[in-house]
Assembly symmetry: D2
Homo-oligomer: 327 residues x 4
């Protein structure tokens, strides 16, 4: 079958012919790929940025945001049938460690097992994963439409879900960066909280997209954005989500917070440099965020696929399902 492989860092990936994977283990699942997302992490993989952080033997097949249809399953897989539309969680987990049992999929005791970063990914015709990493989509769902939710969407949802307890009525939240992750984060904030949502970006087009996604206010990042957010909110925002995470956004993002507020760091690249006196006097929290859990993915797909968050029906093990009837 065809697969897109990285053979050397700094070189363009190549379209290769590789052997088809087989469901050899009892919990194996082979997915016929319907869509595989491309995100900034793929570009970082290609240019070698991750070579030391998450080492992997080359060549690797790219693709960590994968969706498709079940092609084959191992003998112990009971909750999936051939033909089911599915989306794949990016980490393969053991299911029996303390972290897995507590729903904390990203911290499985086996360590990270990230196809597309560390092994054979989904930019191929077929993709081998395991039963625990597969979330069933509603019948008729179009995998290509949701593949990017497996990382970009999952990450934005996960960060927002942590902030829900602090974002009650009268609260305010800022999305710094209204691009690939940010415009999803804004949708999550509007679907999951009553917070006033302010989008901040340098691009007017991105701000238009943010407003069309439900942001209540758009602020151009022209150097005065922190002051503008403080003016809009009176005392600063309860939560600031930094979907960029570069040196250019970190200080301004923290300056947007009210005393006692939380800075959610989602994007990465820069360095957090903050005087301790600022963190202590402001009682500021800086919260790093890493992708999300399998329940996060199930929930987030449900929100996105069904166009609304309030119409889900739990119909069985790990499924996402919609319901048409409304009074």
């Amino acid at each position: 079958m065809k697969a897109i492989r990285v053979h050397a860092y700094g070189q363009p990936p190549r379209l290769d012919d590789v052997p088809e994977p087989r469901a050899t283990g009892p919990d194996d699942v082979i997915v016929r790929i319907g869509g595989a997302g491309l995100c900034r992490t793929d570009l970082h993989i290609i240019d070698g940025w991750f070579a030391d952080v998450i080492p992997s033997d080359l060549p690797i097949v790219l693709g960590h945001e994968n969706a498709g249809w079940v092609h084959a399953v191992g003998p112990a897989v009971e909750h999936l049938a051939v033909g089911d539309p599915v989306i794949c969680h990016p980490n393969l987990t053991c299911g029996v460690c303390s972290a897995c049992r507590a729903g904390d999929d990203m911290r499985c005791a086996r360590g990270p097992n990230l196809p597309g970063l560390m092994g054979v990914g989904g930019m191929a015709e077929l993709f081998k994963t395991t039963a625990r990493a597969v979330v069933k989509l509603p019948a008729g769902a179009e995998p290509a439409q949701v593949a990017a939710l497996a990382d970009a969407g999952l990450t934005a949802y996960h960060a927002v879900s942590k902030a829900v307890p602090a974002l009650g009525p009268g609260s305010s939240a800022v999305a710094v960066g209204a691009g690939g992750l940010g415009h999803i984060g804004i949708q999550c904030l509007k679907a999951m909280t009553p917070a006033h949502v302010i989008a901040v970006d340098t691009s007017e087009d991105a701000l238009k997209l943010a407003l069309s996604c439900g942001a209540d206010h758009a602020v151009t990042a022209d150097g005065q954005q922190a002051q503008q957010v403080r003016d809009l909110t009176g005392t600063g925002a309860d939560a600031v989500f930094d979907f960029v995470g570069e040196d250019t956004t970190i200080g301004d993002s923290v300056a947007m917070l009210r005393p006692g507020g939380t800075y959610y760091l989602v994007g990465y690249g820069g360095t957090v440099t903050l005087p301790t006196i600022q963190l202590v006097l402001g009682e500021i929290t800086v919260a790093g965020n890493l992708i999300g859990t399998n329940p996060d993915l199930t929930t987030w797909c449900a929100i996105r696929l069904l166009g609304c968050s309030g119409c889900l029906r739990r119909v069985g093990p790990g499924n996402v399902s919609g319901r048409a009837e409304r009074s």
Copy 2:
């Protein structure tokens, strides 16, 4: 001034002439009443139902849901000025006990101090209360429109706010009784959570109101309502709010829950009678609810007055304020 007073239980209250109250204490506030709500509790006071539960010397001036404008203040009151539109929390609190300091206004160590139930209420031209019980409304607010929020609205908001952590995306909530409290509860649920909201009532008019308030589904209480909720939700609802609390609603409401769900008891009158084996095997929680706190009232008025929850600006001590500017 004129005041509506109960002179004997079971007798109609009378419109009397009584002396005007004065701001004699440092924290006193005299409110010129713009509106005083009438709720089922008032009817229970008149008919003597509360005579033993919350004893009070007669006559009493009715009125525990009060809003108006500041008429006079004691010398220690700094956050209110004559003419400010305000709404009044129904409990007068000490401000220095552990409960007050933790925001748990209904459990002030001084015990309940409920004007309109235990003393001089707001069905009068002027009403004497204390600074801690007064919430400032936005300039131009019309007190008569919000007076009923001081108890009916506050109670519904408080119960819903407890359920927020359990009502994430994909969850479902039921409002049993879509009347005076229920239709407010539905609005709170829709404003504060992504839950699918099901309204249950015997009255088709009440169900129409519920749908116009945002309920996603309406179920007629015809004896099959518990089964209908289970069918709609697949496994039962995550939360059921019983705004009636009579023997006719309790059993059915609990039967609507999924295993692990919570029954929020808001209305009262009947008796909860449930076998322990049902509560244990279903791991069901029954949560009683009592009015709400001062922060609850501030937040709830904000939601209601501004027509949306996401446009508030904190402008000072204890105020509720709106903002017009939107991008």
Copy 3:
């Protein structure tokens, strides 16, 4: 092999010869039993009390509190080796439904799957279970000493763990019934919270046991126990754990609570009968409790086996392990 089987309700179980189980499925685990606990639920099974609540075909092998050593494993089991000492969670779960993924083992979408109640239990030489239900004990642990933790201990731990957020410094908790579950609940309360712990029982011997387990105060249940708890605590207890759950304990237990407190119903048998006005004015919560999760079991065994809660080391997937070195 030998096994203890119930052939007819109301008849004594018999010691039978039955075939040995085999690890036929990929995730099967055969445990050589070191100890199987006997609890009141077993007596209820024998007398037929559960015949309608949890139907099962007779004969059944008794035994739902099981511990021993791994005898054989299926080919997909990686975290267990033959000879490992283990304790068994009482519910067999699918591992891929929403409840399992969130660590909510008792609400697996496959429904209850309770060996010893619904199928072949552990009162036998060998016991067949599945990998997800097996918790590894530290090397050298003596299974017979901990078998009863698999239900009685797990249930007490689970109920206490729910109350931890409400049991800060200065709080008080009551254990009603200091028997099989209660004396474990008291140990959990002392290990996990700074609450003042009051034990209530009719038996002086039980109260002596309670004090030796760490209870701060012992109250004889002589009809004045609710008043005594209120006197001891000033305003009533923050949490009351009813390990009995009979009609004789329910009303008194609720009467021990402070306003806003929670009644944890752990034992079962009677009927909760409470006026709505009592639940509403007191803002009382009644919380049913059902056994516990796999993480609960891992944690609880750790507390008990190691004689202290503060000396654990996470050493791999789902294990419980101790550490000798102390400064």
Copy 4:
């Protein structure tokens, strides 16, 4: 009366004669000082470090950790009587803003109002404060023994109390710096959580003190301390409390955390400098901490004064009281 005043930054404070304060406002309280703590913040005030951060007109009377006996009260003060032993919260608050109503005393809308930093402090014979800032101690309490709890103790307690939900059985916590705040933090951790507590310090004497305060393990800060903590805990600690907050402790403290762990920054002076990739891949949280609330102070004094946390009785508005009777 005598008072210790700073007349110029960088100059030693002087013992001056100043007029006695009077209870002129309705909520004023005059405290006859029994003890006033001296902490590193006082040294920073004297040397001018705070001149820009928290500006104040000179001269100022030092002393922000104050305890003593009530000397006089204003006419609206009901919960205190002349002669009561008391401890004083370091921030004077309005009591009616949103923050005060929610128990968030450090973020009163009036802004910081910190006697000893911004105005007249307690290093004097008499000290003027307000009713809301005064916590009554048990009869017979010796104010000089607890004065330092008003800031050093309160701050350590507040930080630990935030971590309680993450510090269940089997968890581990590290105290970096076992000096004035650290040795109190260790006591709080042991009293309030079942966590394994590891103390880290350069001084062997400090480590001995830490062990005598209940620390389970002592690690010398010799450059290998982060590795030692990882070895002791297997995967890293769940929580690290940095009571130093200098450049020399920040990086090592974060390196002691397990993935998903939280770094509580309590001391200050240095700069937090952390690559975003480290915070994101490790999903690390950095939590700044600022003193504590009035309920924190009440609770913490109770723990300390009574020698145990489980023997408190709530006896009225805002009091701390002990109880002698034990079974």
